[in-house]
Assembly symmetry: D2
Homo-oligomer: 497 residues x 4
């Protein structure tokens, strides 16, 4: 056969099946054949995957790159409007496309869906989408696509732009917020958005937390001097997420349109989602590694260190919440596992330090700390080590939540599985018996962020080869001199999907 690359002897895992010792033949970026004893011409590259799992490339559907966003009032009237000029990238907090997508690849993710974020000051979505294309194009090493964050559902947006978003830009998912002053929509606006979403047949992602409760709690905590990073969690207990989750489901039931509840962190919200799914409402759930592997004590570290673990919803106090999430992954409540990679540097005046500079005292004010943690690179390996190898989930469930379900939910019809005709996006793992466990340090990672919340955690495998559309983009990181670092990029940068 006329192939570009053949992978032999691997154990192929899909969401429903495991094929021991199969071969994959790749041509022009596609999987063209899966079988055994594939005859190839001379000179075709071959990879021997003996003793190792081959999984579909990770699809991370919740990644913030090159994003200006703060929860502060001062941003309320900001706009993306740039007349085609990319703004000074120094003004962007967090991670840009170049570093973010390299980081993704090193961690076994081959496609990221990032956010094109409308500002409250923007009447239209079009310049937003255009600008994010400018930011991503030519700067991305893996495949990427967009969700559009709608923070101002103006008449222009509802009557015109959302349809154009689908038809011209091929974007079929939007995200809305029920909290954050700069982003949140009232229930009325949510209904408007969902109503339009139903007409267009697109998915609405919802960040569900009750904004009023958070504001009230934050102010009363401040009055009592409880402003240390740890109290970020106090200000938004699990019931705050559960209430908003219930409300979002009610609104979507009224509008009869599918929603995904993003980054679910607590058992109560998990049970509410499950109950809706039992009734067959088109309600989907997403959770993230930080909620599966970390607890609120991460925010309790000395001085201001806890700020590194401040994200929303917050890490939870109670191990029972963590257990509920694992249960929810296994019983199908959670459709996807995403990273919510929304990082800010710790030692940067516009990063986590904002909580100190706007605050005061050794522990600052949590309300000024930019929310979010980095995780695009660690998501897939964390679930491999802490999920499959710890016996908490099966390999098929791993593929389902890291790749297949994300592809299905967001319409990436040629991604998310290993089968003829699909994109040759693959991760080949190390043979388990050969892998030398190691403890992660931030230096090993390829993101542009100065810390990882998983510092010191032991990993028992890591993606050996990450292949995107047939190109081996990262290989043998553990055997390189600087472990995990230096993603090798073959060929050109990838495009949007």
């Amino acid at each position: 056969m006329d192939l570009d690359l053949v992978i032999r002897n691997g154990c192929v895992v899909t969401a429903s099946d495991i094929w021991p010792s199969s071969e994959i033949g790749i041509k022009d970026g596609k999987i063209v054949v899966v079988g055994s004893n594939l005859a190839v011409k001379d000179g075709v590259e071959e990879i021997d995957a003996a003793g190792a799992f081959i999984t579909p490339g990770g699809i991370d559907t919740h990644v913030h790159l090159s994003q200006i966003y703060e929860a502060s009032v001062s941003n309320l009237n900001k706009t993306q409007l740039t007349n085609g000029v990319i703004p000074n990238l120094e003004n962007y907090t967090g991670e840009l496309y170049e570093t973010g997508t390299r980081s993704a690849i090193a961690g076994g993710t081959t496609t990221v869906i990032t956010f094109a974020s409308q500002m409250k000051g923007d009447d239209s979505l079009v310049p937003v989408i255009e600008q994010y294309h400018m930011l991503a194009d030519g700067n991305s090493y893996c495949d990427y696509a967009f969700h559009v964050i709608v923070s101002n559902p103006s008449e222009t947006v509802l009557k015109h732009d959302l349809q154009m978003m689908v038809e011209k830009y091929g974007i079929t998912s939007i995200k809305i917020y029920m909290t954050y002053k700069a982003l949140k929509l009232r229930d009325y606006e949510i209904l408007d958005v969902m109503h339009t979403a139903r007409k267009l047949g697109i998915v609405t992602m919802v960040h569900a937390e009750n904004a009023d409760v958070i504001d009230w709690m934050t102010e009363h905590l401040e009055q009592k001097g409880m402003t240390a990073p740890y109290h970020h969690g106090t200000s938004r207990p699990p019931i705050v997420e559960a209430e908003a989750t219930n409300r979002a489901i009610v609104l979507s039931e009224l509008m009869d349109t599918p929603i995904l509840l993003v980054h679910i962190s607590g058992g109560q919200a998990t049970r509410i989602i499950r109950e809706a799914q039992t009734r067959l409402l088109p309600v989907y759930g997403e959770t993230c590694p930080q909620y599966l592997f970390l607890l609120a004590d991460s925010m309790k570290k000395e001085g201001f260190e806890g700020a590194k673990a401040v994200c929303s919803p917050p890490l939870r106090e109670d191990k029972a919440d963590q257990d509920a999430l694992w249960t929810g992954i296994n019983n199908g409540t959670f459709t996807t596992l995403s990273s919510d990679h929304a990082p800010s540097n710790y030692n940067h005046p516009k990063g986590k330090q904002l909580g100190l500079t706007h605050g005061g005292g050794p522990q600052g004010k949590f309300k000024h700390i930019p929310n979010g943690v980095p995780g695009v690179e660690t998501r897939v390996p964390l679930l491999f080590t802490g999920g499959i190898l710890s016996g908490r989930i099966s390999p098929r469930k791993f593929v389902e939540v890291t790749s297949s379900n994300p592809a299905k939910l967001y319409g990436l019809t040629n991604k998310g599985t290993i089968a003829p005709g699909f994109d040759a996006d693959l991760v080949i793992w190390y043979p388990q018996k050969d892998f030398k466990p190691f403890n992660l340090t931030n230096e090993m990672l390829n993101h542009a962020i100065d810390y990882t919340p998983y510092e010191g955690m032991e990993f028992k495998n890591w993606p050996r080869y990450t292949i995107i559309r047939g190109k081996v983009c990262s290989r043998d990181l553990q055997n390189s001199t600087s472990p995990l670092k230096s993603v090798t990029i073959y060929g050109i940068k990838s495009g949007s999907d």
Copy 2:
């Protein structure tokens, strides 16, 4: 014994017990003795209650009298501030204290709790309370008390007035709205109110419907020309009540303060309240006769007639909702049965006709129809006929929800039961075997409203004597020439409790 009045041979019913053939001795407005063979001096009035039930006087804790309230934007900045001058009573829609309390008595209710309603334009509650005292004082035939509606939780209200309300005016319950533009509070404001309520140890009543959903639905129904009275119900299906009920419970759980969900109309909300009670949250439920005895088809009558049945929450489509309410009464979910007497005349330019004059066409616009139905006089007899006599509830349950629980919930410590030391507020019913069933017409009623939603309904008993603090205020209505009409008032008008 030295008594003013003795009632003999009745079957006394309390919330927990039935005492066959007991005697009640009354002196100075109090029950002073309960027993048998009470010896009395000559000339003491005696009532023979042989073959009849004696129940504690009805306590109706949800009665709107002399109230200016419209859901229209134009009222947003209205104020109660009157500098001690009672405004022109013609400006008040609905029922005044004089007719409302006479109507209550004729229907076996001896105490009403009415609303002193702050307007959004009022910074303070004090003039509101003062004015409602002026409206009620000297104009009420039965005992009355106040809840205060808080529609503007200003700093004055939160820091000062609510405490004064409790300490100076002895009012220990407030009501808040989650819908109606002129009244509704945001979740943040609700937390402020509940936080203060907890500190003061008072009860918060909540009208729970999601305002945004109602507004959205109403506008979209208008766009489709669906504006007839019947579509009032379409605009706020049961899930709208259920969502807000859940949210109110979450907010009260966070603030750890008791709430009463008023006028619950649907099975979903009922189940949510039950679930909270199972966990022992201090969550109470109220339902009303209109939801137990009427369905949405009442809004479907020809022309504009359906407007007579427009109230909020609306009458429900599904008999299953009605059944759920009866179940909820029996399993204890509902603490109280109140009338939500909130009437507007039908043939009055400021009454239900507003829906036609502001609307157009033969069926008008439901959003301009003043919400509410009359019911203070029919509440107790409806539950006697449709509850006890139909076998749906026991006599003890009847007493519990119409009198005892209301007294306990709102701290009327000397009312709500038949026992020594308590106020002699009593209803003596007709001996069942002697009562001639009749079909109700509005002419028989004593309210000032030109219709009753129960027109034509058959009643199989009616309060024969209504006794307030030992005075027989209404007697033998069925045997009077004009059936049920003409409440006989003995002695002076009653005071607030």
Copy 3:
């Protein structure tokens, strides 16, 4: 007034009301008047209850007296048939009527419902009932009534005896067992019994534990040498009770007849009962002080001491089960609180020692330990101290579960409350401020049993006067030389109700 006894100044508590400072007038064993300033003739006894609660006399509806019952196979064919001769009382394990009813009175209980227990070898119930009347008549100091235990639902029983039981003997409740070889019925037999119960309008009490699971677990524990008293609990975890509870409810739902689940011990069963009550099935629940105040560690004491705490269902491991029971009392899941006084002496060859003599080693075999703990005397005071005074329940709830609900459920129409016409069965407590807390020792108690599981527990009040049908049967125990001991009996022994 012509009275025999007047009680003044007490705070009367009923299931629904509290009447501060009331007077109770008693004549011929009945309450004839309740009021204030009751004028009486000279020489009438007066009790001053100033500062103290007066509650209806306790009704303990689950008391085993003069009962032969062992869970051993050897009893399978035993019979009660005695041809009118009372068998040698030495053959009865546990407590006889004389001591048991004195003990009840000392603890504020004025009526006990005891069990007339059919043996598998008995075809008929009549000799059973006759014999238990012989055992009780003339030997009881408080009022008593009977439930009949049906362990052989023969055709005689179903077609004839149960009807006779109701019509001739006035017994309106039966008890069945789902476990214990000597007593248990198959589901088929349970349906037969419930079918007859529905026709007769009587209540069926159910001991709900899955017999097969217990047998299986017991045998497998024995194989592993796990036979110490503590493993009695291991052999029947909460799910065993929950399964049988669910099954009993299903059977009663099919037969449409009321059941009471006796001595519920776990949270799972509690939730199942609650769910049935939510649907208005006539399902009632009973719990007992041992499950509210003790945990499984009581079975873990050194040597064989744990045998003292062996009862069925067993004391539970998990404090969460205990909390669920308290919650169930407060939310109404539990209709009654009974003692399940089913005691065996510890140091008696036919008592708890059976577990040692039939067993072997220092810890014996739990399966030979007679099940049950004493508690008829401590039931009411435990709930007063540990319920009311600890703030876990209200005084009204106390009256409801210890007296009013038991009377209503079993048709004791002239008992269970304080009202004119009702039996003068009363408990007058000590004024709280005067009571000197003490630690209980078994010597203080009036039962015939050589231990109490509450040894050493602190009590903060105790019934000062226990009055049965107007007779003061026990008075001022705390001020007697031998604390709590020596019930003073006025007048003759009481009869069955």
Copy 4:
């Protein structure tokens, strides 16, 4: 490539993916390659599947073939022991392997799991297994495997035979009954069986209905003369299934071993299973086409015709139960859809007519009617037409419940999906646009039974080719002269898996 058969242009469906226009290469009974543009040698058979779905061959895991089973007492001591001689096949009611497996193939099923059924009189399982092998070997056209029905869990069975069953015969699933006199186990025996199942790591299938309730109801219905076929359903309402389902789950939770609840028919049982799955208990559910497509009115036909629809659990009254099953398929409660092909001829003295001959009158006695309906041939096409084409389920869900989940649950590791290395068991459907809908008549079917409960029902597609291990066993039935009939068998009969 060296292939035996190539299928081109089909739309391959697996449980997780759809691959449009793929090719499948088959060699030596295995799928060896999946891809596009497969080059093959001359003379290799090719099938063009353009425009059609290709699904994995159906796996029907609940099929009764060559089975002696009656629910009558007279069989209680029967035995399978035959000393190696196959008994006279005329004594077997229902279907034999030869016709049953031909029927399966014609309906797109390539593997059946049938029952080797121990009789109460058998101490050992070995002769049972041996005999069923004799019955199946050489008589089966499709692949087959066995579950073993355990009706006498003797010490031999528990200590020896079950282990031998796994190790020597490779059988890894057993079935037990909670009803039917000739088969049912007590809870104690169920625990014994489950305990052994856990040790061996095998799956226990449970027929969950409460035997005692059914017996009781049946007898009482007979007493009232309610013996017509329709009252088969009256005798076992949905709650009877729900109770036993709950009990089976409790027993399996105690033993910590996986169970499959077979042939679930009602919404209550469905919800109980879902709840167990939410908690991640290893509890699986099975439902059958008869419960998805038929209701109790099928038992109401004139004369004795209703007997044709008598199966256990019975067809349900309420469409809500049917809807609950469809919901359960979609939300994942049901792991498998099986036929429970357990047929008896209608016009046969040992078939359904038994209900008449043992009964009397024109409608007989339902308790003598052999339970069960035929369905092995219609199962897959029914779900294709009534599930996929009616829009109730997706093609992937179809594959999941008819093939992939059955293979996974019972360890058929080389079946249940389309992938390299798996058995070439395939169904190729007709291109939807070309298929001429038809109404089914029993004559079209290949089973040996004289009726189908789906007589007259419209089918909109049907398996065009059924391929087993690479052999086309059935082709183009719709274009044959006798529609659907005459399965074409290529090559030898298949073996057990």
